[in-house]
């Protein structure tokens, strides 16, 4: 396999773009990445998106987006893996370059959530769960996380300790130009917000936003930011089938494979982006990645160790909670942010001397998880 590097990244701010279409967002982010890479000639396009069928009533996104990018004729593939769409699309894009099949691959994640009312978003996101016996109960994505959150509270941490995941993400987003909510949020404010799905408060959930992020991958020339490891894994979709409800096997399995491919251990990671779409999910992500022991994730987010000067900076641009969570684009935002860190272009968010960073992007209740490890090589 060939080594693969990041040639360019493109981000647009996560917000509500009333005046733009999903195609517009896709093109905006893609053009920024192409300009960043100084590359016009794309050989292959991956589109990552989850909800376009329900929100825009649009499918065949690979062709539609390639058409709007002004590049009809180019091979294109749409990847849907619920909330993990971005991380999985990146994983596939890496393989396209590593295999030698393609030399210049554009992977752009896009989600335009503000086109419909929130109940349609809730319904669409619940499609990450099996429909006939899980969503059938009326449970939502937040509801599944809430049941795990409650078990975690019983075993390991107080509600406030778990909630600090959201407080920290907001703290890290301050000053971030592409973040949807770049301001601090107090623990008291989050804990006094209404319940989304007891015991998860609304302010412990990522919000609804529009966004697109883009990365261009090419064969490595031994300089810049390389893809050191990439892996995905899956688990039983229905939590009732799992033997240990607090162990997210897909996260651990994907992390172990990605670390192995990169020739590193979890202790070698300089910074990480984790999937904090709910506070509990961020904590389970940290634990699954082996950045701390099982049951100690909440304790870790209550320390300064996850700040940019700390032992293992986490969600340095605000994570899903504060940067925003445009579902199918989120995994690409994470990887673009890690790239900026490794390129020493993270401005006020910079982790000094960062060489190895990873993004953990999961869908369902960790029924699928992508872990992608990037490394600065010069």
């Amino acid at each position: 396999m060939r080594k693969v590097k990041v040639a360019g990244v493109g981000l647009i701010p996560v917000k509500e773009y009333w005046e733009k279409s999903i195609q517009d967002l896709f093109v905006d982010a893609s053009l920024i990445a192409m300009k960043d890479a100084g590359i016009e000639d794309i050989e292959k396009i991956y589109v990552s998106n989850m909800c376009s069928a329900q929100i825009q009533e649009q499918l065949n996104l690979a062709a539609v987006m390639t058409d709007f990018l002004g590049k009809p004729g180019i091979p294109a593939t749409r990847i849907e893996a619920s909330s993990a769409s971005g991380g999985v699309a990146f994983h596939e894009a890496v393989q396209a370059v590593a295999s030698g099949y393609s030399n210049v691959v554009l992977v752009t994640g896009v989600e335009k959530m503000s086109d419909v009312l929130p109940e349609i978003i809730t319904t669409s996101l619940a499609m990450a769960e099996e429909q006939e016996y899980t969503s059938y109960t009326g449970v939502t994505k937040a509801g599944i996380a809430a049941m795990i959150h409650r078990l975690y509270m019983e075993s390991y941490a107080s509600p406030e300790e778990i909630c600090m995941m959201a407080v920290k993400s907001h703290e890290h987003a301050v000053g971030c130009k592409h973040a949807q909510y770049p301001f601090k949020m107090s623990l008291e404010r989050a804990m006094s917000s209404p319940m989304e799905a007891d015991p998860i408060h609304i302010m412990e959930c990522s919000g609804i936003g529009d966004g697109a992020a883009s990365i261009i991958l090419v064969p490595s020339d031994g300089e810049g930011v390389e893809v050191a490891g990439t892996a995905i894994s899956t688990d039983y979709t229905n939590i009732a089938q799992r033997s240990n409800l607090l162990e997210m096997k897909a996260i651990k399995t994907a992390a172990d494979k990605a670390y192995n491919m990169a020739g590193i251990q979890s202790s070698d990671v300089d910074l990480a982006e984790v999937q904090d779409d709910f506070t509990i999910n961020g904590i389970l992500g940290i634990e699954g990645l082996g950045l701390t022991k099982i049951g100690e994730g909440a304790k870790l987010v209550n320390t300064q160790e996850i700040d940019k000067e700390g032992r293992i900076p986490i969600n340095t641009f605000g994570g899903l909670k504060a940067r925003g969570n445009p579902i199918g684009a989120t995994g690409i935002y994470q990887l673009a942010e890690i790239t900026l860190q490794l390129q020493n272009k993270a401005l006020g968010h910079q982790v000094e001397g960062a060489r190895i960073g990873l993004a953990q992007n999961m869908g369902g209740m960790a029924s699928i998880c992508a872990v992608n490890v990037l490394r600065r090589i010069n």
Partner: protein, 130 residues
Amino acid sequence: MSVPRSWRNQIPRYRLLGEMCKSCGAIYFPSRPICKCGSTEFEPYKLVEKGTVVTWTVITNPPLGYEKYTPYVVALVELEDGVKILTQIVDIQVDEISKGMKVEAVFRKVKEDGIDGIIQYGYKFRPVID
């Protein structure tokens, strides 16, 4: 959910009928074609209709079609035979639910007025009255 999908799920949903792997004894609800042990040989397995609440949540922002029932409790219940099942808990105020609560299966309306006009029925669970 469409007519064919509701129709083919009638027996498992109405009777809480799953399957047991003939090779390793693993129980599946809903049933599936291949066991984790690799076997494809199953026999019908009737779930025990009583169990206890392992964990739960209260849904306040529901998916489409569940608005009339809000707020409602969804729980993970461990049945007396050790099988776990996701289900709504009904006949209860949302603040009365607790871990370890004994519950039993009950046949109830689940959802109505979908695009196909189907009134869906199936299992929910309710507290046991001792």
